[in-house]
């Protein structure tokens, strides 16, 4: 796609992929070049690697408020962590119950393991959400029963940014003796998380989402929580995830966790300010424009809006021509040709979901970038509305 604005190259799709922090890159290099031992080996090289592995584990544990570093299991990323949590709990506890509760705004790496278990004798209930994307606590209470072994809920949704009331959910889940898994892929590093204080039994974290390398993640497994492993082999990661550890990746992840913890208060404040400036600038000058998700209980990086009468991909192309790269929940940008299930779950009609546009900010995003993107939207929307046959009188009531 041509970029007509040669000097601009503004990345606003940080939920899809992030740059790796240069300190994390530096930290990784020795573990590819000189300290390449296997943490399972007893000799000097192995012990060097083992020390680095455990140091990274400690840093990740500290980021999420885990008391013991051994509660952190390294995986290949959030998808594996979600699969391990959901299938691992289901298989391990199938004698106790076969019922799983989740929400209708989960990532596909939660949706599909749950659907898969549905073909293996388990039963999954997708709890409804309100117009902001908050899980309905009443239906959670209603659906929880003696057969429920697991409740899996996203900490904050990456598409609409809505932060779920995790503590409230946890209380209800534990009162019925079920286990709570939380997918914190989008939330971790952006807002403070404490597995201990919030009563989380299992937590999914992704390295790249906190500016670490791709291909690494972790699953926090609280004390007394028993899982069935998915990968069998040499018994690494307390037997829950066999296979020689991806040490350079894990070290980079650990460094990123350390940096995220230190920078979280100031970066979260900075992004929140930018986010609100961005949302205001995108909506105020343009009629028939709306915010997706909650105005304040949302991730600092998330700007999700929609414009009536036009379609998301054509907006993305127009932005791309001017050097701004974002994302959309429109079917036309997906492999499935279905609009985002998250946008449909919050009650948007198909045609509204098609008109959505999502910007996710990052460490590299400046106020100048945000203002530039804001300045492009009025003419893009105006042009596409001129091309569109839809008008306000056809708007669904």
């Amino acid at each position: 796609m041509p970029n007509l604005s040669k000097e601009k190259r503004i990345y606003m799709d940080n939920a899809a992929g992030k740059p790796v922090d240069s300190q994390a890159v530096e930290a990784m290099l020795p573990y590819m070049k000189s300290s390449y031992g296997n943490p399972s080996s007893l000799h000097l090289f192995g012990q060097e690697a083992k020390r680095a592995l455990e140091e990274a584990r400690m840093k990740v544990a500290e980021l999420i408020g885990a008391e013991k570093k051994d509660s952190v299991i390294f995986t290949s990323g959030a998808t594996e962590s979600n699969n391990l949590a959901i299938k691992g709990i289901a298989y391990r506890n199938k004698d106790r119950g076969t019922r799983i509760l989740t929400s209708s705004v989960e990532h596909m790496s939660v949706v599909n393991p749950c659907k898969y278990l549905g073909t293996k004798g388990f039963e999954t209930v997708f709890l409804s959400v309100d117009k902001y994307g908050f899980v309905d606590l009443e239906s959670l209470e209603k659906e929880l029963n003696d057969k429920t072994v697991l409740v899996t809920i996203v900490y904050a949704n990456s598409e609409i940014g809505t932060i779920e009331p995790v503590k409230e959910i946890s209380k209800r889940v534990h009162s019925k003796g079920a286990i709570l898994h939380v997918d914190a892929t989008a939330a971790c590093g952006q807002i403070p998380i404490s597995v201990k204080e919030e009563g989380i039994d299992l937590l999914t974290i992704s390295s790249n989402d906190i500016y670490g390398p791709k291909g690494v993640g972790a699953l926090y497994v609280g004390e007394g929580i028993r899982l069935e492993p998915l990968v069998h082999g040499g018994g690494q990661e307390r037997g829950l995830r066999s296979g020689t550890e991806n040490l350079p990746g894990i070290v980079g992840f650990g460094k990123a966790a350390e940096i995220a913890k230190r920078g979280l208060p100031s970066e979260s404040k900075r992004l929140t300010k930018l986010r609100d400036r961005f949302i205001g600038g995108l909506l105020k000058p343009i009629p028939y424009s709306f915010l997706n998700g909650h105005p304040t209980l949302r991730l600092p990086d998330n700007v999700s809006v929609r414009y009536s009468f036009i379609e998301g991909e054509s907006m993305l192309l127009s932005l791309g021509m001017m050097g701004v790269y974002a994302s959309s929940g429109s079917a036309c940008t997906a492999k499935t040709l279905e609009p985002s299930h998250v946008l449909l779950a919050i009650g948007l009609k198909h045609e509204e979901a098609h008109g959505s546009l999502m910007f996710t900010l990052g460490k590299q995003t400046t106020e100048e970038d945000v203002d530039y993107a804001i300045s492009l939207m009025p003419s893009i929307v105006k042009r596409l509305r001129e091309i569109s046959p839809l008008t306000p009188k056809e708007l669904p009531k």
Binding site: E311, E313, L317, S330, H354, S388, P389
Partner: protein, 129 residues
């Protein structure tokens, strides 16, 4: 993912707009699926004298709409009916596989506009009888 030709038609769509006294109008698609296009035609001496479009949809939906107006303008009605989805996609240097069905409706919209013209002509003749 799009060819330069597609991007050119997306950026500078040809014959965009409405014809208020159109002789035929064809609408296909549905905003629910993310694509909706309307083609307006003006017919003189059995030829597509003027043609315009309005489209709600992705880049390829807009580009295919624009392309069909170029392909059809000045052609006879019979020739217009013979323009296929494949002709439109080929003229644009190809479309991504996933877009071939959902966003390549322009030929259908043109055919619908021509059918609409025939129907109106028939109705007028019957009134005259």
């Amino acid at each position: 993912m799009y060819t330069e030709k597609v991007m050119d038609h997306f950026r500078n769509p040809r014959n965009m707009g409405e014809i208020s006294d159109a002789d035929g109008v064809g609408t296909v698609g549905n905003p629910v699926c993310g694509d909706l296009m309307t083609i307006y035609i003006k017919v003189k001496d059995n030829r597509l004298e003027d043609i315009k479009f309005k489209t709600f949809g992705c880049g390829s939906a807009i580009a295919t709409s624009s392309m069909i107006t170029e392909l059809a303008k000045g052609k006879t009605l019979e020739e217009g009916l013979q323009i296929t989805r494949a002709n439109v996609a080929d003229s644009l240097g190809g479309l991504p596989a996933v877009k071939m069905h959902c966003s390549n409706l322009a030929a259908d919209a043109l055919h619908a506009a021509i059918e609409d013209y025939y129907k109106k002509q028939k109705a007028t003749r019957e009134v005259k009888k």
